[in-house]
Symmetry: C2
Subunit: 453 residues, 2 copies
């Protein structure tokens, strides 16, 4: 007899995990909806022609491919076999599992462009699959939770992303975090201003290590990456930026005074802050991080990243503005801004900080228990009224020792049991026992409904 | 530039479809939870060793297989090529997409048997994949929505399944349907009673056509399938059963008087009805269908099927009791009862009967529109209060003609717009316009909160 197992890098979610995940996702969904975002879903499988070439060579390697149905080898010759897997792939597979939610969303927008109402605000919460080497915190199947608005350049969207993140974190009880924000145009401007135009990529990679290795080592690395001595000296003022957002903006304005694109980036960022202010909001949790880069090649405007402080997992959300979501599918000029909550990471953070409220994993509220057949009949007669009142109620289905029934309630973390004994039947009440305090009261049905709803 | 497309047999769900699906699934989830069922999720991919051999040869053919990552051809020789796809499969693929939720659930129970609290009531709502030939109403990716309780033989579970179906259908506004119920042991008994023990399979297939082809043709078919003339004559009383459940039970009792298993089946069914009666419930919508079979080989006790009347799609839910969920994974004796809601079919039925409430697809409640920059600033200043009160509110992000903004609201089916003109700013009110009636009123913020919450 085989012993079953799970494929490497995949997970089951049991009742407690599911309840907690639902708690997180419901908070996020409610927030998205409050801001006018609408949910869509796309299929797990996409044509390989849709998926390949979008994630770089490395990404293509990590796509899970679906074997063609039926006689999948019918077009494969022994010459193909010699050429190897790469050359033969297209003959045995034409579909793959989605690698993210962005490419399927782009495909969806292109295929439905005539029916959609723009600006189109969508959210999407579905698993994605990557044939990555599994390791702690990295899975081959995991949920992504994306919100994007496409078809508008309005910076109101950027401001609302900040507000959505704040609302979700507030609801989840997270109090110590930063929403790092930057603008790709500022990065481009910095590279220009130090005389290394176009090199913002390596610049960010090196500067990102500032906290860890210090300014001198960063300078060394920049020079190794081909930056001139002079350019690294020019960078100096950016290393000494303080924490005040408006101070930073002033410093940058003078630093980027000769870079048109840089000035544009500053203006965009200032407008986002101004919109927040018009909305009566402050800049709590917002951190202007001049060197924040994240997937540089894709973003063209705002860049976001959310870090929770004081936990082993840092980044839990990120995103940014892009100019050209759908160009690769023949529809140019679709710009938008989006971001993504890392559900697995938020789960781990809440777990580490013990922020899951007890209610978040509570299922059944009341278990009816009994000693004998007449007690069971009495319990059965009460169920409809309890459930009609919305009280999640179970009856222990088998006649069993009361101890076993109580153990069942404890294991399932059911907070109350309703004991149906002879006296209770006679008095037409329930002995309602709170399993965490041990308190027990004889209550009639209306009293129980009042207590538990 | 490539024109993107969807793989055959797969679908996108846009905002309206998703909202309606969510309405159905929320109704089902709420009901499952009210009865103490807990949600789990399992991975999309399972090892092929878990999946194959569970669904018959035909099912194995319909499994989507995942190509091994990396050099998938490394173990394939040219002799393998000659032997063909069947012989080579295990060398290029070791995982597949789940075909249903039952086998993954069985695997889950076996792998977690020491942690689970039995009786274990679980529900699971996830897509499954089958490489079926796509046709109207049949997809290669579709959601299943299963509830099972395992680790108990109590017939309370059967009674509660009837109640859960009734609650879901009541909430969805479905009024004309039957919950067909039968018991596998009755079918076994009937085959015994007519002297054709063990032939309940072909018996049911033939009798199932009674309504369509009539009793004479059914008899002919039975004889073709190897039944004796005598046995078909003995069947006669079952063809003439009336509609009354208790009448049917009485007839069957005498028909099955010499079949021990048949008597047991009747007793079980009677007990389910008795439990319902003890719960203060009637047998509304319950239809004892003596010939109901459904996946005969699997079920050992109760069998359920739900049909909606007066619509093109009939069966929308089904299930039954089984003795041996996990035997194939080395854990014998796990009995239980489960059923499944066909979400796609319920969707089509509600659509056909126009039963989706308008609220079920409503997202944003209020769009703030404006004529100029000062109107936009005013709108921005109102958003926080509206959203804080839980009103799903959007602002049109770009400064655009008011006509365009109103069109956006209409297309997105937003019921109210709040017009922010100069007079409104002066009076610190909003012109709240109901887009379906055309009514318009000047209301201040507290009045609007009162109106829209």
């Amino acid at each position: 007899m085989q012993k079953p197992s799970l494929p490497k890098g995949t997970r089951d979610f049991g009742p407690v995990q599911m309840a907690r995940r639902t708690y997180i996702l419901d908070t996020i969904k409610e927030t998205f909806q409050l801001f006018g975002y609408q949910q869509i879903e796309t299929p797990a499988m996409e044509n390989l022609s849709t998926l390949t070439g979008k994630y770089g060579d490395e990404g293509d390697q990590l796509l899970f491919k679906i074997l063609n149905s039926g006689d999948f080898l019918k077009d494969v010759s022994s010459e193909d076999l010699e050429k190897g897997s790469g050359a033969t792939l297209s003959k045995v597979s034409e579909k793959g599992l989605r690698y993210d939610l962005t490419v399927p969303f782009a495909r969806y927008v292109v295929m439905n462009r005539n029916e959609l109402t723009f600006p189109f605000k969508r959210y999407q919460i579905q698993p994605v699959w990557r044939a990555d080497r599994p390791q702690k915190g990295r899975y081959r199947e995991f949920y992504q939770c994306d919100a994007d608005v496409v078809g508008t350049d309005s910076l109101v969207c950027e401001a609302e992303i900040v507000l959505m993140i704040r609302r979700v974190f507030d609801r989840l009880g997270l109090k110590d975090y930063s929403i790092k924000i930057n603008n790709r145009k500022i990065l481009t401007g910095i590279a220009e201003a130090i005389g290394e135009a176009g090199k913002e990529g390596p610049l960010c990679v090196a500067i990102d290590k500032l906290d860890k290795i210090g300014w001198e080592k960063v300078q060394e690395e920049l020079i190794q990456r081909g930056f001139s001595q002079d350019s690294t000296v020019k960078l100096q003022p950016l290393v000494e930026l303080g924490n005040d957002i408006f101070q930073k903006l002033e410093t940058l304005k003078s630093f980027l005074k000769d870079s048109e694109v840089g000035q544009k980036g500053i203006a965009e960022l200032e407008e986002v802050f101004e919109i927040l202010s018009k909305m009566g909001e402050n800049l709590d949790f917002v951190d202007f991080d001049v060197m924040l880069a994240r997937g540089l090649s894709y973003y063209t405007g705002a860049i976001f990243e959310v870090k929770v402080h004081g936990v082993s997992i840092g980044s839990v959300s990120g995103g940014g503005r892009y100019d050209n979501l759908t160009g690769v599918f023949g529809l140019p000029g679709v710009s938008g801004v989006g971001f993504s909550f890392g559900v697995d990471r938020i789960y781990d953070v809440l777990d580490e900080l013990k922020l899951f409220p007890a209610e978040s994993q509570r299922g059944t509220q009341l278990l009816l228990v009994y000693f004998d057949a007449s007690g069971k009949d009495y319990a059965l007669s009460l169920l409809a009224s309890l459930r009609k009142a919305g009280i999640k109620t179970e009856i222990y289905p088998d006649e069993a020792k009361i101890k076993k029934q109580l153990e069942f309630a404890t294991k399932k973390e059911i907070p109350f049991v309703g004991i149906c004994g002879d006296q209770e039947i006679k008095d037409q009440v329930l002995a309602l026992k709170n399993l965490s305090t041990g308190e027990q009261e004889q209550l009639n049905l209306p009293e129980i409904l009042k207590r538990l709803t």
